[in-house]
């Protein structure tokens, strides 16, 4: 199968090699022959969907940008790539950076944008240096800058280096970070196409999404729409890691069976072991059991059907000996660390889930903890400004549901007594445990001190708040 992005051409990161292999032809074609709207139509026809995780149709996103030049407009290229298990954009920066640059220039032209910001995570020191050089080469060759190729169109491109915050991969957080603020996500609406970076219309696209654009222009949207799964066409850069013999990034058409990817391309599971769990699209995505994995196709719709998602196509494979509880604890620790702290459900909830998972790992967990975990996760999900809350909740909710036995095996407590959580919850209802304000309301203030003392001595409450 012909590759669209990670082509087998040596030194493709050099601008001369890229040009000799048809590079920047699409950019020249767009500038000389196509109107901006025609470019958007072609991308719509291709059926290209965003590669950053949300799978939003790219052409449609571009069409949301206002026409005309009343306000400056911006394109932000999202190379923050911090989702655990994802390492595909790094591969593009290294193997085919100019195709990404060309794609973002075409995108800028299609939306009438004059400034492109490439946001790259700060840890990618090596790849930021590569990109700085590539952008400077493209300026020198006259592909970026004033009056590009004599077309009258001018565009600038800047690299912005992040500084280690997962949340900055969220588009509105990325915009705040770019503006020189703490990376707090913004409430939507207004959406970036209306009010984006510096209050102006903005589009944010993933690096891989943009890297597909030149070939769509060269070969046509229809050609692209016939690759892979019709509802999610094109190729994906699958980043496979964990217990496989040949981990790495594999560019393959969407809809490829997961087992083909693992067995034929990644050389199967290490040491001939069995699979226990697979995370199909980066650590935020609900995991798959072995049974679900066997007939799974890797595209947005097939994974959606089983309640998971393609995400960033970062596939993490775990063999039969993996401690699932430890994996979930580590994932939750990550979200606890990375929660920006803006929304209470996410900030507090991640800490709660981690605390509960820590005690299950320590061997002091309780049977009620499993329902407690699901309950906390469900109270984070959907109640936060950005999707980090969901990203933290999904793995907890689905891993506990799908691998409940693994968790139960770690809980030594043999009798499932009345959950401590419910007792605390019940305080407000029963006569025995009235709240302090209830007492105050009923005028029983003289009893208060005694009640408070009694409450603080209650074993269940002590355990619960420890």
């Amino acid at each position: 199968m012909e590759k669209i992005i990670l082509k087998d051409i040596p030194d493709l990161d050099k601008i001369s090699v890229y040009e000799n292999n048809g590079g920047y032809a699409a950019w020249k074609k767009v500038l000389s022959q196509m109107k901006p709207d025609e470019v958007i139509e072609e991308v719509k026809k291709s059926g290209l969907r965003g590669r950053g995780g949300a799978c939003f149709p790219t052409g449609l996103k571009w069409s949301f940008m206002p026409k005309g030049n009343d306000k400056p407009k911006y394109l932000c290229c999202n190379g923050d790539e911090s989702e655990p298990g994802s390492f595909k954009d790094r591969e593009i920066f290294e193997k085919n950076p100019h195709q990404f640059i060309e794609g973002s220039l075409i995108a800028a032209y299609a939306m009438g944008i004059k400034a492109v910001y490439v946001y790259i995570r700060g840890e990618y020191w090596k790849w930021i240096n590569i990109m700085e050089e590539c952008v400077s080469d493209a300026y020198k060759k006259g592909f970026i800058g004033e009056n590009v190729q004599g077309s009258g169109y001018s565009v600038d491109m800047y690299i912005h280096k992040g500084a280690g915050a997962y949340i900055c991969g969220e588009e509105s957080s990325l915009m705040n970070s770019l503006e020189g603020k703490r990376g707090y996500p913004r409430v939507k609406p207004p959406f970036p196409a209306a009010v984006g970076v510096w209050g102006n219309p903005t589009t944010i696209n993933n690096i891989e999404t943009l890297a597909n654009i030149p070939e769509i222009i060269n070969k046509g949207g229809e050609w692209f729409s016939k690759i892979g799964d019709p509802k999610h066409p094109g190729t994906l850069l699958f980043g496979v890691s964990g217990h496989v013999n040949k981990p790495g990034v594999y560019e393959l058409p969407t809809g490829i069976p997961l087992m083909t990817l693992i067995n034929d391309y990644c050389g199967g599971v290490k040491n001939g072991k069995d699979i226990k769990m697979i995370i199909p699209g980066g650590s935020s995505m609900p995991p798959l059991t072995k049974e679900e994995s066997l007939n799974m196709k890797m595209d947005a719709e097939s994974l959606k059907a089983v309640g998971s998602a393609i995400g960033t196509a970062g596939v993490m494979v775990m063999d039969e000996d993996t401690d699932i509880v430890h994996v979930l604890q580590r994932i939750t620790k990550f979200y606890y660390h990375e929660s920006c702290g803006q929304c209470t459900p996410c900030r507090e909830g991640c800490g709660w889930m981690l605390k509960v998972l820590n005690r299950i790992m320590d061997g002091t967990g309780r049977h009620s903890d499993l329902d407690l975990l699901i309950s906390v996760a469900e109270n984070i999900e959907g109640n936060t400004i950005c999707a980090l809350g969901d990203a933290a909740a999904w793995p907890v909710k689905w891993t506990v549901r799908k691998f409940r036995k693994e968790f139960e095996a770690k809980i030594k407590e043999d009798k499932a007594d009345l959950p401590a959580a419910n007792k605390v919850h019940g305080l407000r209802k029963s006569d025995e445990y009235m709240t302090i304000s209830d007492h105050a309301e009923q005028g029983k203030v003289e009893d208060l001190m005694g009640k408070v003392q009694e409450l603080t001595q209650n074993e269940d409450i002590k355990r619960f708040s420890s």
Binding site: P72, E81, S82, E83, P84, G85, S86, F87, D89, R90, R121, G122, E123, Y124, W125, K126, Y158, H160, K161, G162, A163, G164, A165, Y166, S177, L178, E179, G180, K181, R182, G183, W198, G239, V240, S241, G242, H243, P247, G248, V249, I279, S283, G314, M316, M318, T322, H326, V327, R330, I331, F334, H337, E338, C340
Partner: protein, 166 residues
């Protein structure tokens, strides 16, 4: 170890760089991140005085710069060792021995997470996914080079090389 105290000041060439960063954005507040990077490159870490200095250069309230510097984990708010080893222990690395590498280095150097060796040579930090999942386990040094597909022997070699390169 980096200097405990320093007087933050940019020379003429660095001031040109400051102007270059300002020119990249329509509002100069956006230059705060590149400027904090410049401070860290020069002095190894970012002191509160340095945050004030950056605030003055960009005409920003000092607390804004403090807010930005404390939000991002790659800006060091305390001095680090000469070689700051950032070891990934996130899922993909963990599955391939990330914690073994972390504990091995920690035991060998006799320091815990975010501590500095007494000679100031090394400090270690457990970090989140660095996008090196297929080449796990891995570590990064001073926010720069990746060292991937580590084994314990290679860790030994790496530590020796760093020590001897002095």
């Amino acid at each position: 170890m980096n200097k405990e105290n320093y007087i933050p000041v940019f020379d003429e060439n660095e001031m040109k760089m400051v102007e270059h960063h300002k020119s990249k954005y329509p509002a100069q507040m956006a230059a705060v991140m590149p400027l904090l990077w410049m401070i860290q490159e020069k002095y190894g870490w970012i002191s509160v005085d340095a945050m004030r200095y950056v605030g003055d250069l960009l005409k920003l309230p000092h607390d804004h710069v403090l807010g930005v510097a404390t939000f991002y984990s790659m800006y060091f708010k305390k001095p680090t060792g000469k070689y700051h080893l950032q070891i990934c222990t996130n899922v993909s690395c963990m599955l391939c021995g990330g914690y073994e590498v972390f504990h091995y280095i920690s035991d060998k150097l006799g320091i815990k997470n975010k501590e500095i060796t007494s000679d100031g040579m090394f400090s270690i930090e457990e970090v989140e996914c660095l996008g090196s999942c297929a080449t796990a386990p891995m570590l990064q040094i001073n926010n720069k080079e990746f060292h991937e597909k580590l084994t314990l022997e290679e860790v030994d070699k790496l530590l020796n090389n760093l020590r001897n390169s002095n």
